[in-house]
């Protein structure tokens, strides 16, 4: 029993693997949707051999990634002889959030919520007012409530410290990257500062540091 979970540190790599596979699946589903959209725009009809080959390859890689996630998840479950109750709820909450986000994104993409000129949610292109309101309510109302519950009930002090350190490093990243970008833009070497790009860089830095501090 004492050594039952001494190899638990490998779970960090498993979680990282699942996240990368998840992103891969989202990108591949986008590629499949885009491929079929282009085909339909060009008149539709049956695909030629090359088209089938491309589609089969995209679907195969998607399935391989889905299988990889399932295997990593199974390995993680096996390594967990027993999980503290707080962690169980935490894991369920995390998986639920990922599923909710993934399914919502998939539904938005597959129901044609973006017009053909849009690159998706992560772009500066125009979007429908309805989608803009949905996203604003989700991020401005739903997410803060979920985040409050998350920090109040599920996160322990070690993870809270990881969040704090991640936030500190992300703040410094913002402080240094924003002016460097601004100066290089003024020097004609970079495009104009993109606030949303800076936002994602900041979030990414915070997440990387949080992950390192929590699971290292």
């Amino acid at each position: 029993m004492f050594n039952a979970d001494e190899n638990g540190g490998r779970n960090a790599l498993r979680i990282l693997g699942m996240i990368f596979c998840g992103f891969g699946i989202i990108m591949l589903l986008g590629a499949i949707t885009g491929f079929l959209s282009v085909h339909m725009a060009e008149g539709g009809g049956p695909l030629n051999l090359a088209g089938y080959a491309i589609l089969a390859a995209l679907i195969s890689v998607t399935l391989v990634l889905a299988f990889a996630i399932w295997r990593l998840f199974r390995q993680m479950k096996r390594s967990d002889q027993k999980v503290p109750q707080r962690e169980k709820v935490y894991n369920r909450f995390l998986i639920g959030s990922f599923l909710f986000g993934g399914v919502t994104g998939l539904v938005l993409a597959l129901t044609g919520s973006f017009d053909e000129t849009e690159a998706g949610l992560i772009s500066n292109d125009a979007m429908s007012p309805m989608l803009a309101i949905i996203m604003s309510v989700a991020i401005g109302v739903f997410m803060p409530a979920v985040t409050f519950y998350w920090h109040k009930n599920l996160v322990d002090e070690q993870e809270e410290a990881a969040y704090r350190f991640g936030a500190l490093i992300a703040m410094y990243a913002f402080w240094f990257i924003a002016p460097v970008w601004w100066f290089l833009w003024r020097g004609g070497m970079l495009p104009e500062i993109d606030g949303i790009a800076l936002y994602f860089i900041t979030i990414f830095v915070a997440l990387i540091v949080w992950f390192w501090k929590k699971y290292r």
Binding site: G9, Q81, K82, V83, R86, E87, D156, E157
Partner: protein, 70 residues
């Protein structure tokens, strides 16, 4: 900070998950404390002290060797 947590846990044949359950923290937190990567807060240190029925200074070692009270 060095500590005796792993030894005390072994004496009770507890897994990190078992200790995490007693302390209401995750296994990552237990692992981080055991390996000295994270120093617990004072409330958590007292909780650990009560759980093992030992004074805090017998569980945690700040490696202070000086004679002054500082």
């Amino acid at each position: 900070m060095k500590n005796q947590l792993k030894v005390l846990r072994a004496m009770r044949n507890w897994s990190q998950a078992d200790l995490g359950e007693h302390l209401d923290v995750s296994r990552q937190a237990v692992n981080a404390i055991e390996t000295g990567k994270y120093d617990p807060s004072l409330p958590l240190a007292f909780k650990i002290s009560r759980l093992f029925d030992l004074p805090i200074e017998q569980i945690f070692d700040d490696e202070f060797e000086g004679g002054d009270n500082v």
